[in-house]
């Protein structure tokens, strides 16, 4: 039965009754709702827009040229590249680990599952500074592992690998945390269906599992990336803050600020904030572009 028969324009649409201002089920008075909305908007303005505005206006306080020039400084350029490199390595790794962990937790029953979930959350509950300190001790020359690695030419602490490692540790939960509930909700039936239809495990993962989690994955990756680029505490400890070598954007911001280099500090801060805003915009655009698909999937 074809469902899309065009109805003549004059036909009464029984599915859509004439619009009427019906009494709402929720009975809060109008003034209350207005007050609530006003409060939320005020808070948003105070907590989000004003600080962001301040960052940009401070960065541009001595003109656009001065701001751009501050980024041309070799140390600044190195910090930007290091932050991008860190995110470029840490985010894909955490995406892969996150998918694997979420997949195991959501689709299989095994002993120690509750423990694994707790373990994934660990970086959320441990202060990043403590995490950085632990990693420094573990890979520093004082420990057997650290000494062994240094002897074989692998410098982790006060070097780029340490920064990446600390960033990975701190941002580990983001992808897994986004994926676990989605995967649990979806269950295993679709994957099993693919297998019965003759698909290999890898094909099933590629054509069924992955497309089903892509929005959660995207969201997790964006969060993970924002945090990876912004991480301060753990990186500050393990990096040793060597100028031009192990200074990332957040560390650079702090150093410049402490040295009263206002324009340099705020320009870097504005750039870091912009990177985050670009990510947010990208996500919004994607959601808007694929709105149909999203709606179709949620109507389930």
């Amino acid at each position: 039965m074809p469902a899309d028969i065009a109805l003549p324009a004059s036909a009464p649409l029984s599915a859509r009754p004439p619009r009427r201002r019906a009494r709402r089920v929720t009975t809060e008075p109008g003034w209350f709702r207005a007050a609530l909305i006003a409060t939320v908007l005020t808070l948003l303005a105070l907590l989000l827009f004003l600080p962001l505005w301040e960052v940009f206006s401070q960065a541009l306080s001595e003109g656009f040229g001065a701001a751009v020039a501050s980024l041309g400084n070799p140390d600044a350029r190195h910090a930007i590249l290091l932050t991008l490199l860190t995110a470029l390595v840490a985010v894909p790794m955490n995406a892969a680990f996150g998918i694997a962990a979420a997949w195991m937790i959501a689709k299989f029953d095994f002993r120690g599952k509750a423990f694994l979930i707790t373990l994934i959350d660990l970086p959320f509950s441990v202060s990043p500074v403590v995490a950085g300190l632990c990693l420094t001790l573990l890979f520093g020359s004082g420990s057997a592992l650290g000494a062994f690695m240094i002897a074989h030419g692998m410098q982790v602490v006060f070097a780029v690998p340490g920064i990446i490692l600390a960033t990975m540790f701190v941002t580990f939960p983001f992808v897994a945390r986004e994926l676990i509930p989605v995967m649990q909700e979806q269950g295993r039936a679709e994957e099993e269906a693919a297998l019965t239809l003759g698909a290999s495990g890898w094909r099933t993962f590629r054509t069924v599992t992955l497309p089903n989690i892509r929005w959660a994955l995207l969201y997790g990756v964006l969060l993970c990336n924002a945090r990876a680029m912004g991480e301060f505490g753990a990186v500050a400890v393990i990096s040793g803050k060597i100028r031009g070598e192990t200074i990332t954007m957040p560390l650079m911001i702090e150093m410049s600020y402490n040295e009263y280099l206002t324009v340099a500090a705020f320009t870097m801060a504005a750039l870091l904030a912009s990177l985050g805003l670009v990510m947010l915009t990208a996500k919004t655009l994607l959601e808007w572009r694929f709105a149909d698909q999203l709606a179709a999937r949620h109507r389930h």
């Binding site: 269906a193 693919a194 297998l195 019965t196 497309p211 179709a296 109507r299």
Partner: protein
């Protein structure tokens, strides 16, 4: 294809889902597994489809041991309880999935895939829904698409887990007739799970009554009605 089940048992940790059960299913039969919830029907069906491996016992397909065959090698057309349609694919892509998953040398051409999918859509009497997504279908339509998707791989047998369980009474009756027709057209050995004795009696050639992981009785509907083997069977078909 005839199916021989020999002393098949399945345990999940401490729970015994299937006691050792034996059953012989003649080629081309339409068989129902009937029993209350938790009696092991789904487990038996999943073991046959290769989605679950038995703790002990054997399964023979046409006399050949199939116990160790992987789920892909079984080529069982499986219809899941809630259909498990791929929600991000159109109906067309759902039905074509099994054909596209074949190794390159046996994969049909695009034109052939197109032809086969449309033939299956005609068979389930939904010729116009190829471009819709599962979320845009009614329960009955989803069930029929799931059936078409299972048939697309040219299965050796058809396994259906409570195929009418989630549908209202009128659609249920309509689709029962549809399953019978498709079974008769394809001649496939078909096993479906149900907890509705009326459905089992009306639709199947052979009813397998199960309870608590055991097979209580196997027989034609008429036979089971006339001579229930145990008190459980007598009470269950009366209910």
């Amino acid at each position: 294809m005839n199916i021989e089940i020999e002393e098949l048992a399945k345990e999940f940790g401490a729970t015994t889902a299937l006691m050792p059960v034996s059953l012989s299913i003649p080629s081309g039969a339409l068989v129902s597994l009937l029993g209350p919830s938790g009696s092991g029907k789904t487990t038996l069906l999943r073991v046959l489809g290769g989605l679950e491996f038995p703790t002990s016992g054997r399964v023979l397909f046409d006399g050949q041991d199939a116990t160790g065959l992987s789920v892909q090698e079984r080529r069982a057309g499986f219809v899941f309880q809630h259909y498990a349609l791929f929600r991000h694919m159109t109906v067309f892509e759902n039905i074509a999935y099994g054909l596209r998953a074949r190794p390159r040398r046996s994969r049909p051409t695009e034109a052939e895939i197109d032809r086969r999918v449309h033939k299956l859509l005609a068979m389930i009497q939904l010729p116009d829904i190829a471009r819709r997504y599962p979320a845009q279908l009614s329960g009955g339509q989803r069930q029929r698409v799931a059936l078409a998707r299972a048939l697309a791989i040219e299965p050796r047998m058809l396994l259906l887990d409570e195929p009418f369980g989630a549908l209202d009474a009128r659609v249920r009756r309509e689709l029962r007739g549809g399953l019978r027709t498709i079974h008769d057209q394809t001649g496939l050995t078909t096993i479906f799970v149900t907890h509705d004795q009326e459905e089992a009696m009306e639709l199947s050639d052979l009813v397998v009554v199960m309870s608590m992981g055991r097979i209580e009785q196997v027989g034609a509907p008429r036979e089971i009605r006339a001579r229930p083997a145990t008190r459980f069977v007598a009470e269950f078909i009366d209910a």
